[in-house]
Amino acid sequence: MKETTASGTEPGQGTGGRAGAALGGMPLLRHERVWGFWNFTSVNVSLAIATWAFLTGGSVALFVGAQAAIATVVVGNLVGVVLVSLTTCMPSAKYGVEQFVALRSVFGRNGVRVLLMVLLPFLLATWNAVLAIMIGRALTNVANAVLGTDLRADSPVTIGLCLAALATAWFLLLRGPMSLSRVNNLIAPALAAVTLLMLVVLLREYTPEQLAALEPLDPTGVPLLDYTNALEVCLGAGLSWWAIVGNLARLTTTPRVAFWPNLIGLFGASAVAGTIGCLAALAFGDSDPTTWMIPVGGVVLGALALLFVALANITSIMGQTYSGALAVLRLHTGFHRLPWPVLSALLLVPASVMVFFPGGVYELFFQFLAVVSLIVSPLCGVYFADYHLLRRRTLHLRDLYSDDRESRYGFWRGFNPAAFVSVLAGAAVYLALLNPLTYESAPLFPYLTASLPAFAVTAATHVALTKTVVKPLNKGGYR
């Protein structure tokens, strides 16, 4: 993520000392926490506006019209971001630890490894593939508009551009992410300005009444169900920050700095960009933002926006890959011996394969968001319950790093089955309410959503199991 850029840490420069603190997930010292309020806000804005918000907006347009879209985009992102921020930012910021180190207090050391083995290949590969495909499509559309070519969205040239984007991200990671911080500082405001300009152009073409009258692109025909489907998509977008935002927050200087910028950046910027993405998708009848930017903004503004999108996505791929590297190092000490170029390249390989199937990955984005919710809402619930309700926001730093025999977070051979049972219970509730692949839902889904009950059931199950089983057996260091 962009956290590394401002931290002054350089992944490519060894694993000891200051670099090791970031790459190896060691606790940060006071002088290493370098992000104040506006630094962290700027990072969050650039991260949020890096195109997934446009994609989310396009997905919302499948189900609902403009007014309902504004409501669901705002509420879904707000609730998701607040839950994620309270859950992951607070412990990581308070103790200066990487998120998957702090999660040892919930799942145990080996439990975190299991979690990473399930999460990493799926989340990292798919997010990076989505971003790379968006770059490929954006550049293809720029070529079509500016050079007069007639390239298809799934042409070999587009796939080549996707691969080139991944290669560029890898190359820049080798140079160290510090070099990109200055670029990020330019891209984020520029993309924000272009996005707002898109809104102005859109509002010149359509009156608010005309926008409000636009029909959704692919509704089910049941208004309340469509409304909740759209809300669920946005909850997924908000919750999807779970895997990365804690690692960002550990570089902040106070708990307030760790929390409030998330609402300006991850929520505010996402909601604005998502709303614009939705309105444009409704107006132009296509949920893919790379297809409507040139029709909305004209060749110059549209091509400029698409180029900014491509640049922003490259920095996001870098950030995700770096965050993935932090996580992989938790899996096995053998990974510490891998040279940085090899490790970063290995992490990009799955996405490189997925970009050969651009339609399959990119056009199923809203199903992907639902699968993310299926996984992340229970994880968020169990972490929230463990840190805020059971441990009363207190962790023991040394025990996060000690051997299982000595650590209060040793559980059973480094594995806390109660946390996993709770997560499975939450996931089962989600699946009972909504099928994330087909969007077939239970009668209660339109009234409850699926993510929020999954969060609540996971949290309640974890509290109950911990109080009745784990704590009486004197495991986990619960008081």
């Binding site: 000891g16 006071r30 409501a71 607040v82 409304y227």
Partner: protein, 54 residues
Amino acid sequence: MPPDESAELQHRLHVLESARSRDPAHADLPTPDLVLVSLAVLGLSVWLLWWGMP
């Protein structure tokens, strides 16, 4: 963990656990902030969901 990293970790833990370590980041989000965000999220969500309901 390689020996140099292990030594670095021990050094960091020692610094962070020492009585002289005073880091303003080592704190919880203040209660007024929690109350404010809870009320704002609840109020805004209810109002917007009612407003946007088809």
